[in-house]
Symmetry: D2
């Protein structure tokens, strides 16, 4: 694609002044309001003429040569007294015009910016806001659904997940057989897939998840295994004892499965949808399969009693940007991505929720 230069005879440029140049105060130092360049086509008005600076690049300054030519110069190459362009405006109103529309299109709202990607490990995570959301949902009787993958269990975020269930922050838990299996394996044998909480593979450990499944199958159901004291703590235990509904869906990689796992996929989807239609918030942690399955069923919005709609807050946590992008590529545009691991996410989120609860307790009425 080729673009013609802007039409500087247009009305919008009629009042543009010449760019202003100020001498650099010292070697390698720019005047305070220096114009900081971008990598886009740029035009500088000098003696009534719009000129393109030479050697364009971003993060540099504009220096006027004695012959009227404008050069893009790195800060470190500036000499004391060099005439340096000043101004922040990129629309020509201070004599400098950055022709950004054609290049950036609407995505960037016509302005050169850094850090515009939607999902990145380099973006800060606002735990305080998520904590407030969760507490508000609980207060208003919302129905937050939590969707988890087994990494949550392997990474030993069980205790934190259990805390959220026990404290009323979970409307329903949607997961796969593996979450149930390794949670129960951890309760019975203190391992997950034979790995200790210290991350060590144990001798003979490869059969422990099978033994856990077998004990629950012998008991007849997860509920029975809890009642009989076989399963004493953890996520499934908390769901059973706190009467939080859960759906465990099967897949082709399942061992067992545990009793109660939906092994027929139409039935499994129906069971999930019974909760997604009620959801007022969704938290998807460390699972591509279940996150995308839930995203498929989840409206992007919640409808109020007055017919107004609001976005359904959807948080997707994964160690890589890929899962969140994939979820968005499957149409769950509203997902807010958090790139971190499950253990840390759960731990900090709980901490912030506890802090916010303390703060609200102490607040005057």
């Amino acid at each position: 694609m080729s673009f013609a230069p802007p039409d500087f005879s247009a009305a919008r440029f009629a009042k543009s002044p010449d760019a202003k140049f100020i001498p650099a105060p010292a070697d390698g130092v720019l005047p305070e309001k220096f114009f900081s360049t971008t990598n886009l086509p740029t035009y500088v008005r000098v003696k009534g003429q719009w000129r393109m600076p030479r050697e364009p690049r971003m993060d540099a300054s504009l220096v006027l040569a004695s012959d009227g030519e404008v050069w893009v110069r790195e800060m470190r190459r500036i000499k004391k007294g060099d005439p340096v362009a000043v101004g922040y405006a990129e629309d020509g109103s201070e004599g400098i015009f950055v022709h950004s529309e054609a290049f950036l299109g609407e995505a960037a709202e016509g302005e050169f910016k850094f850090m515009t990607s939607e999902v990145s490990r380099e973006k800060p995570i606002d735990y305080a806001q998520m904590a407030r959301l969760l507490i508000d949902e609980r207060a208003r009787g919302g129905y937050p659904i939590w969707v988890c993958g087994p990494a949550l269990v392997h990474s030993r975020a069980r205790a934190d997940m259990t805390w959220f269930i026990a404290n009323g922050f979970v409307g329903a838990l949607l997961a796969g057989n593996a979450v149930g299996v390794h949670d129960i394996e951890a309760s019975i044998f203190s391992t997950t897939l034979g790995m200790t909480s210290g991350g060590e593979a144990t001798s003979g450990g490869h059969g422990l998840h099978m033994r856990a499944i077998n004990q629950v199958r012998a008991a007849g159901s997860i509920e029975a295994a809890v009642a009989k004291g076989i399963v004493k703590d953890g996520i499934m235990h908390a769901c059973v004892t706190h009467k939080v509904p859960y759906v465990l869906c099967g897949s082709i990689r399942d061992d067992g499965p545990l009793p109660g796992v939906y092994t027929e996929m139409a039935a499994a989807q129906d069971a999930m949808k019974a909760h997604t239609v009620k959801a007022t918030m969704a938290i998807l942690i460390a699972t591509a399969l279940h996150a995308i399955a839930t995203g498929n069923m989840l409206p992007a919005f919640v409808t109020g009693k007055d017919g107004s709609v609001r976005e359904l807050p959807t948080i997707c946590v994964d160690s890589s940007e890929f899962v969140v992008s994939k979820l968005k590529d499957r149409g769950t545009h509203q997902a807010f991505g958090v790139v971190t691991n499950a253990q840390d996410f759960m731990h900090i989120l709980r901490l912030y929720v506890e802090r916010e609860l303390d703060a609200r307790k102490g607040a005057p009425k």
Copy 2:
């Protein structure tokens, strides 16, 4: 954020008809032109009234109940004879309106779509187009700069890179000390970091790259090492013998370094910029540091002699989406991302260039 329902008394809805419903031809089968749902707020006109369907989700159909209620139903749950909404339009012109603006904003041009992410391993790579670009650049005397990381050498894409240099597709090569070191190690010892081309770590191999550096230092320069027959093939050999300019920049992780490596960073940047100002195309392969450094210096455009500007084609190849996103987050918006490994990229690109050259040879004038 909360949104009011659309104002259906507005002019744009004046001509909207009732939605049309057609009986499903069989259990689990929809009429051919069925309306396929999204996860966005949707309104269906039934007997003059706009209704929101119940149980909204994407990838489903709209079924009219006898009481006038509209339900969102999965294909598999459809019964023969169910009245199913038909039509493709989402703007109300066929009686169905998807209220997408508020939710999607401009990024999606106001339309629900899948696969809108910019960079993804799930996107096809158009090697044919890249091959044509490269051949066109060569034909018109362009100046494509290639920027490479050491993974290109470790993965044994040396032969393909050498071919591009030898055949006039490389204006200049920008890389780090490690590319030079392991390329020369491969020429002298057939290993890179002591690893064979079969991917095996060799006994005593950890010192081989140091011995390679030492031989070049003893020779005095890379050029001298080529002249003396110490370096017999590969990337650096091709640059020297084909007189393709190269810049090797230093970093804190360098061993040696090789003679000729720029170890002062201002000088290194100046040496790179001597090529970026001439660049008409940029190919960045398997390097975060050098890709971002080059991106910093590279204009997003090429200026023609007539003052018109065109986008500077910038291809960024990496095994993960992250590096490309990071590059874009640092302002190199024009980068086109290819998510693959260096070996495969180079191999296929060369194959397509060879095919295109053959095709052009055979073409009638």
Copy 3:
């Protein structure tokens, strides 16, 4: 953990000579056989005494000071005439002992090496060997199972996959509903999830995969859709026309599903296992779920008629190291990891198979 110094009175050190030092030939240049250091505890024999060099680090040399002290020195800091230790042996037989056992354990066979990780994008991929394996399997009547994820279809490796099926390299194809859906969507509409082969999201495209499913459901089966000319090319078409068995397994994220998809997970596992028990080779491409499911069922070995066993060649292709590591962490230790994208893998593998076939044709008998 703390380790005592080695017992240098032990028999193994009885014949150790003093280390040999040779003057550096020039500033910044080492004698040819210089000893290249590691980061492990190292002992140098000087005048009968074992000394630890000062300032230890890897990739450096050992210089003897006039007071008998040994210093670790970077190549660039060497001055002409500095006495530099020479020798390659790290076992004390040339007067230098690297105490590696305690630190590295068995994993590294007691030797300091680079590039020892099992799975890395920096490792070369030996397509020639994979091509020979596939051709040998075909020649001997083996049963290679191919397990694919939808990225293979999105990335437009359909044509290559189709070629492998048509040419007898596929014993059975194991995949999910999505592979079938998007393959058939590509055949009917030339899109996958509404994305063109150029990677662009299309207007109205979000419903195309649903329309593809609907057409096959209306036809009654994939076989019927092929027979009726609805599905004219691609992976499923090739399986049907070349009578290559396939298994499509369901999951909770499925739309439709296509007729013939196993939606009950026990039945799905049984259907997969009917092929895994016959497998003599496995190629797993761009799928975590199906790769791990197959790995669960797959023996690590093939048993010959004489009772001898050989490793079952298992190739796992993914864009990230994570899936391969996860597969190994689930016990499929024999998996060989290829870190690249599906499109490129398929394209190059086919190319190498074609070349090898040509080479074998031309070979004298």
Copy 4:
């Protein structure tokens, strides 16, 4: 590779009994001590003969058929009364032998295990142990070096990093120009690369890091900028006010740079090495370049005054497994990998250190 069956006439098998089979207590339920299969060649002793079970796979049980054949059977396919093999031993001592050596080699210590990979996001992170290490180091006057990338600043872990510096846990800080730049940008403008702490790109923000650099260059040094009140808080401020030594190394991607940045790479390496030679612990966060550079210089051990050596604790934090694996592939075998993001790591580590300090305060002497 092909392996002969084990020699069962060998002495080690002389005392092997027949395998013991026990009836399954119910459909789909195994006897408690059931033998859990692996995917490796397995031999079961039945009536004095060693037999290979049919249809081998992992995570299943062994069932004896009436004709003496042994079948591998999934738990769900077991019928009440099926004779199921019991025992945990895989060495033949209970009549079942798993021929693992040939297949697994030394890496797995000859035993089939799950979760043996070295670095994985699925492994739990032991923050308590890291906290104890840090406090112990401070107590004994150790010299922990911290090596950070700019993601630490972008993700707003500045406050936590500042806390560690202020409280005596940092011997020296090694970083690049970008860490200094964005830390100071955050202090002056509350943005990093123009992004707010809420993760939003700001209008006009692309120049803010350049303005921050310019202010420090105008002041003459970072120390002067702190003294003049230009830089009021953050990482660099803490280093200056708490007299914690820091090294900022340059690279080709640097803007500015800040005064005091080492721009010559040999000098930069020397400046880093002045700290690595004193290091008793190393924490590498969110940086490939600086982590590998530091790893190159860092011994794998610390030498005590008595000549004993202990491993130098080296923690490497990154969002992907790749950086840690790459570090190990460059010889820093001792690195312990933590796969998470910088913000969360810093936050939780500080929390655990504070808790441990509180606990120690309260402890009786």
